[in-house]
Amino acid sequence: MAERVGNRAVIRRLAGWDRAIIALLVAFLVVAALTVDNFATGRNLSFLVLDLAPILLIALPMTLVVVTGEIDLSVASTLGLSSAVMGAMWQGGLPIETIIPLCLLLGLVLGAVNGLFVTVFGLPSLAVTIGTLALYRGLALVVLGDAAVAQFPGAYTSLVTGRTLGLPNLLLPLLVLSVVFAVVLHATPVGRSLFTMGAGVDAARFAGIRVARTKFWLYVLTGGVSALAGVLWTLRYASARADNGSGLELAVVAAVLLGGVSIFGGRGTLWGVVAGATLLAALQNALRLADVSTEALTVVTGLLLIVSVIAPNAAGAIRSALLRRRGGPTPPAAGEPSDPPPTTSPSVPSTSVRSS
């Protein structure tokens, strides 16, 4: 029996893709530090953190969204719109101390719009957020056109780009936020309910969890954080533009999936995502330093993503193989071909033929 249990532990470790990705990250950092010149320097760290910041920041709430079985593709456009509005208001002579809160507020509103469509009207989040992706980016162009607003106060820009005691200023806030999100997701009733509704909406509703309400507020949160990312982006480049951060949504989704979160919801860990995002950023940074071409960067990103989804299944296959040899229980149906079916949407609708 004891042998059995030990074996099970081994198997569980095999299954945890998030752990694998963390190990991968550590390994990569070590190798890069040893082999790539100028990688392990304070200045490079701050560059790394600056490139990582927007992706990781948005990936935090996005993880929660994906865990509930939904998705939000409009984050990058929200970033762009808040950046554009920031620029317009700065141009208009408003004080930055007023602008930033207003931008965050705007983000909350934009998120609420997504939430409204997804929860109240019950539309598929993929379609909705593709729509708002176009809408918000469009509005950004309406607000600022193709103009670029600059001359943001040095005090603020250097706050974002600067370093204290050799450490980039953004590092600490990012760490704190990550920890907060991790605690919320993994150690609070809310976090538990997120997993539950992602793994089984029915079961969640029967357990008295307010699915729609929770999802709505998640979208609001995502919007707010995306707007914050927009503000940071603007200050970092000291330049507000409508096209800021375009295409970032795919990078964020990539980071989340790479972190081992199931696109169908219900499975994933936050530290896995943090590791995933960091791995992507570090990889790009190191490969650039090693004069690897942009083309290679793109390919590597794609391959990593594909591996990240196939690996857990492979692990699952190995797991069940091991267990079968041990004559033990086979894993839950989750891994069987048509269950869950490959789908465009994290949330597979009930396939039963029921009215209403």
């Binding site: 059995r4 538990r192 793994a199 029967f206 839950p332 396939t351 039963s352």
Partner: protein
């Protein structure tokens, strides 16, 4: 003729287990041409699993299946269809977006020149089948929104359209009204006389005696007996299914009933049920009986607030409940153990601990934080109380046997210390021993002054446990029968509405 000697379809000592659950253990069956063969057994006895193996959905762990004496590999449903085995599944499996006709002939559509699908022929074919079954369903309408009964009809039409040599029916009548059942039987007999071999599964003995020539009894996945129908009385059948005299099963206790805890007035939901009113008192066990599809689950779901309601009021201990708000119901002390364990009761991929505490995270949290320890302790306490068997609290609950899964659901709800406990099909798909435990548990709760409302399709359970039996038919509450006057006949009459016809 060889049909006499060689069975059309033979199942030889097949075994199938799902994780810990040994669903089928060394079962053998022989289906002969021109014969309807009944397969009976309690919920969870393994009937549908046998069916699944004949249908190529599950592969037997061991044992063989022979067609006309030749061994047959059924790796996929396609293979089974190719072999001429048609299956009516217990749960309807339709394509909501496609028309009814397409659902009937999917993959085998009649074609015109250049292999084009011939819609006219397709609709005609379906219409013809529906006429044979004597129902009016427009072949050209989408399947979405069909009532559970019509869904079942379409499933039957699907099987007929194959004009297969072996036809397997897993509780085809569960959702049908007597009229439709009579028509189905007529069709089944013509098929039988046409030389097809039929396997028929049902929980209704009158149907079995009316239609079948042989009956095979399963208990806990194992074969009990297989005899000609004439040599077996219904009581004997039941005894073999259950393995002991019924009476021993239901540890009903007489308890003085207190004041009204749950009162429902004029509850209604468009298209599903209407004008449902009843009361449940402290210490009382009230059964909600009726045929599958009568709307019992809909009613209790509406009471608990998971489903919306169009009309009516629900009071708990005199205070009115907000409609469509399960959390309010929970706060008022209501608990609902839902009908569908795998969909509604559990998150199969989540751990035992998570599932067992799913209703109590808020109360378990300290300073808003849920640290593994408290959760595991709470889970361990309650799973122990219900004598749940599992290897590890962190195992996904899907690895547990059906019965133990049901215990986890019960633990999840009993741990909220409800004043009103609603259980929907509490013993569906769980083994005999557990069933007894569940019943004992319900009696104990009633004794402690809990008001229990039990939805059940199992008459013995209803008769054995209930102080009062409420009977529903087609979304209406048609009868209220006190314990002393409640017997199989009175309840079935009310449920099937025969006294109306008479």
């Amino acid at each position: 003729m060889s049909a006499e000697t060689v069975p059309r379809l033979a199942v030889r000592t097949v075994t199938k287990s799902f994780g810990a659950v040994a669903a089928v253990r060394g079962v053998s069956l022989e289906l002969r041409a021109g014969e309807v063969h009944a397969l009976v057994g309690e919920n969870g006895a393994g009937k549908s699993t046998v069916v699944a193996m004949l249908a190529g959905v599950h592969r037997p762990d061991s044992g063989t299946i022979e067609l006309d004496g030749r061994p047959l590999r059924l790796d996929t449903p396609a293979a089974a269809l190719a072999a001429g085995i048609a299956v009516i599944y217990q749960e309807p499996t339709l394509f909501p977006d496609l028309t009814v006709a397409e659902n009937v002939v999917m993959g085998r559509q009649p074609t015109r020149s250049f292999g084009r699908v011939d819609r006219a022929a397709m609709n005609a074919l379906a219409a013809d089948l529906f006429d044979r079954l004597g129902v009016a369903i427009d072949p050209d309408r989408p399947a979405r929104g069909l009532s559970i009964a019509d869904q079942q009809i379409v499933e039957i039409a699907k099987a007929l359209s194959l004009d297969a040599r072996v036809i397997v029916m897993d509780e085809p009548t569960a959702a049908l009204s007597p009229v439709e059942v009579r028509r189905l039987f007529a069709v089944a007999r013509t098929l039988r006389d046409g030389g097809a071999a039929l396997l028929f599964i049902s929980h209704r003995f009158e149907e079995i005696t009316a239609l079948c020539q042989r009956v095979t009894v399963l208990r806990d996945g194992a074969l009990v007996s297989s005899d000609p129908i004439g040599e077996l009385t219904v009581d004997e059948m039941v005894r073999r299914m259950v393995g002991r005299p019924l009476s021993a099963l239901f540890p009903k206790r007489e308890v003085p009933t207190g004041d009204v805890l749950l009162s429902v007035e004029g509850l209604g939901r468009r298209g599903l049920f209407s004008g449902v009113s009843f009361e449940v008192r402290a210490g009382e066990i009230v059964a909600l009986a009726g045929l599958v599809g009568a709307g019992r689950s809909e009613v209790v779901r509406a009471v608990f607030g998971v489903d919306p309601r169009d009309s009516g009021v629900v009071r708990v201990g005199g205070r009115e409940l907000r409609a469509g708000d399960p959390r309010a119901a929970m706060a008022a002390g209501v608990a609902l153990v839902p009908e569908d364990r795998r969909q509604q009761g559990l998150v199969l991929e989540a751990s035992v601990a998570r599932n067992a505490t799913a209703t109590r995270w808020r109360s378990l949290a300290r300073f808003g934080l849920l640290l593994g320890g408290t959760e595991r302790r709470a889970a361990r306490e309650w799973t122990a109380r219900l004598r749940t068997k599992y290897a590890d609290l962190d195992d996904p609950v899907a690895r547990l046997s059906g019965g133990n899964q049901q215990k986890v659901v019960l633990a999840k709800w009993l741990s909220t210390a409800p004043r009103v406990l609603i259980v929907d099909e509490p013993t569906r798909g769980i083994d005999v021993a557990t069933k007894a435990e569940v019943h004992r548990l319900m009696s104990d709760l009633a004794a402690d002054g809990v008001a229990v409302l039990m939805v059940s399709s199992e008459l013995p359970e209803v008769l054995g446990m209930a102080d009062r039996v409420l009977v529903m038919r087609e979304g209406r509450l048609v009868a209220e029968i006190p314990r002393d006057r409640a017997d199989e006949e009175s309840v079935m009459r009310a449920a099937t509405g025969q006294e109306v016809a008479a």
